[in-house]
Symmetry: C2
Subunit: 396 residues, 2 copies
């Protein structure tokens, strides 16, 4: 079987920055034809991209898409959109709520043209509700959703999680909702309006700390790298000679294995370490014992020994390590590419894998409007001259 | 339209802890019948739950599922699984790779019984590749994937992001892949094997810092709450009288709006703050100016003023704030419930929303094996006496 699961599906991707574009990327890598639709100025991430830190993320998230321009502020541009929508299965966008409606091309207007259209909106706080118009970027959503309140050291300020988790959780939930709507449409024939809020998508990830809040009867402290309720030990990040390793023991057997690995059998009968409860009480001491061992070794050696002893452990890899991770490269999740703008680049494939279906090879992100002639030609039957005229009119 | 999108789909959910169970929860909330299948001892999270911080997360992720037991170590138990698989559309699991195969009920064996079955495996590192057998829990996957290397303060150690983002990114990607396979099956009639690795799912979330790595030509420092490449200011978390607020200016207009809000018009012509580049160079000073304002106000007031001035801002909410967030409650993402084990609890609905389809009301998580009679009765035609016998035999 070589046909991609979403072959034959056409997507208009109005995504910007991370959330919408990640969703569009996943759709493209599952076999949909994804047309990235941008204003004549280019979407925000591209707009900053020529000379900024945005060029690489843009390339990461916009492989395998056609790139067209369309000016929503132009009546002719909006007319083109209405024509494209007749040919499309999905339109996704992550503008501020109401943006498309203000241009007269919101979900109602477009589904009136194509009742089979799945109109999918990704927002910070949703299309409904009292906070829907709050401005939302990853860092402010991290603040609002509680992520910052549980990240950092106890004595330090609330801290941002490094990854743009709100944006990406939003984008992958949007993907899930879109495909759910596509599945339903196979049965009903009707489109749906999809409404995914980053805030909603982030909430479940707080599970450990909400558990700790309930268990402790008070708000848990920020615990750095330790367990949310401080009830597991070892559970921390430990110094190695050349970096750090994470080690966690969730069952008694893990602790016994760790004592074997550390060659500290005499501690097996130490009442301070007798079980999880006493180890949690003596957490400082437990951590000191573990670090006394890890700090004598390179992280790769700690990791190797830990794996051999069935201990849950991993080295702290930095970005350079990750981009060169032999497993990610062997699995094809990452591949070394030559990008027309970036030059040598290591770029991601899709995390959605199906046995017997190889993800499509990466096609590098396209220049702004590079596919105008092809897409407007194929989908709307416009000639190159007509496309040139649209451009001259600032409609695309 | 009131029918849920996945109505009629039957799922066997062997999920444990967060990753698999979150996927099963989303499937249930989209209308699938989800049967949570546990060993006679209960899955890991339930096993720790009666007297630990795990009880609340268990309740969060296992609403709206039937709960049955099934002993994979028993030949009769495995026989029951083979019978259930004939009635199921999806089986999901997040055991260590190879666990189901070792019991003779891996994807090949089960698809031989039901070629329409979608067999979905969530793992740390995938079903293939050189690292597939590495033990994986959220904290070690955070270490391995680079998340820790980009979280924390520059002078501090690599830090865990508070949320269990690897587990939940794994679970929602698994959901997306399963529904993609269901969509494909509508067209082909054939099942698929789904392979989602947490490590793959986390990689894209590093986009900002990978951009910074490429832009700077060296590994970015951990920047606490500041921008990955230190090229935007203001971009930080600032003290308020009663907590903290996040503020970010991504366009010149935002900075001008902020100056208005702070009533500091004289800074508009200050060359140190003339544009993003100079503000980034003078980041310490920019942050001092902003904090001089925020620290005189309560966070709610900063937020209100910021919204009125179209400034991207949010208060840092803690877990208590979030569980009582009026927007999440009004949207129905959270609701106040009475859970048979927990008592009063605020529990999540699904982030996957479709206009015109109200998510099903929450049905509280069930006791271990509570639905054995119903499920084995309805799906396999077993009588209550036969179910009792299976229990006596330790088959369920």
């Amino acid at each position: 079987m070589t046909q991609q699961p979403l072959a034959g599906i056409t997507v208009l991707d109005f995504g910007q920055i991370y959330n919408g574009p990640y969703c569009g990327f996943l759709l493209a890598m599952a076999g949909a034809r994804v047309i990235k639709v941008e204003s004549p100025q280019g979407e925000s991430l591209r707009g900053r991209s020529e000379t900024s830190s945005a060029s690489y993320p843009f390339a990461m998230l916009n492989s395998n898409k056609d790139a067209v321009t369309l000016n929503l502020k132009s009546e002719r541009g909006r007319g083109l959109l209405r024509e494209l929508v007749r040919k499309a299965d999905v339109l996704l966008e992550n503008f501020s709520p109401g943006t498309m409606d203000r241009h007269g091309v919101g979900s109602d207007a477009l589904q009136a043209i194509n009742p089979r259209l799945i109109y999918a909106a990704a927002t910070g706080f949703g299309r409904t509700g009292i906070h829907r118009d709050y401005l939302a970027m990853d860092i402010t959503v991290q603040a609002m959703t509680g992520v910052m309140s549980i990240t950092g050291e106890g004595e330090g300020p609330p801290l941002k999680a490094g990854p743009a988790l709100c944006d990406f959780l939003g984008g992958i939930h949007l993907y899930g909702a879109i495909v759910t709507a596509l599945f339903q449409r196979e049965r009903t024939g009707a489109g749906l309006v999809v409404d995914v809020a980053m805030q909603d998508a982030v909430f479940p990830t707080l599970a450990s700390q909400i558990g700790a809040l309930h268990f402790l009867g008070k708000h848990p402290t920020r615990n750095g790298n330790r367990h949310a309720a401080l009830s597991l030990a070892p559970y921390n990040v430990y110094r190695a000679r050349d970096g750090h390793v994470a080690i966690i023991c969730i069952r008694e057997g893990h602790w016994r294995n760790l004592l074997d690995a550390m060659q500290r059998p005499e501690l097996a009968n130490d009442p301070r370490f007798a079980d999880m409860t006493t180890r949690a009480v003596n957490m400082e001491l437990v951590d000191a014992v573990v670090e006394a061992w890890t700090s004598t070794l390179d992280k790769a050696d700690v990791f190797r020994i830990a794996q051999a002893h069935d201990i849950i452990c991993a080295p702290v890899q930095d970005l350079v390590d990750v981009l060169d991770d032999p497993h990610l490269l062997a699995r094809g999740m990452l591949s070394k590419q030559v990008h027309p703008m970036l030059g040598d680049a290591v770029l991601p494939s899709t995390p959605l894998r199906f046995e017997g279906i190889v993800p499509p090879p990466l096609r590098m992100s396209r220049a702004l409007g590079a596919d105008n002639e092809t897409v407007y030609g194929e989908l709307l039957g416009l000639s190159p001259n007509e496309v040139a005229l649209l451009r001259a009119e600032d409609a695309i």
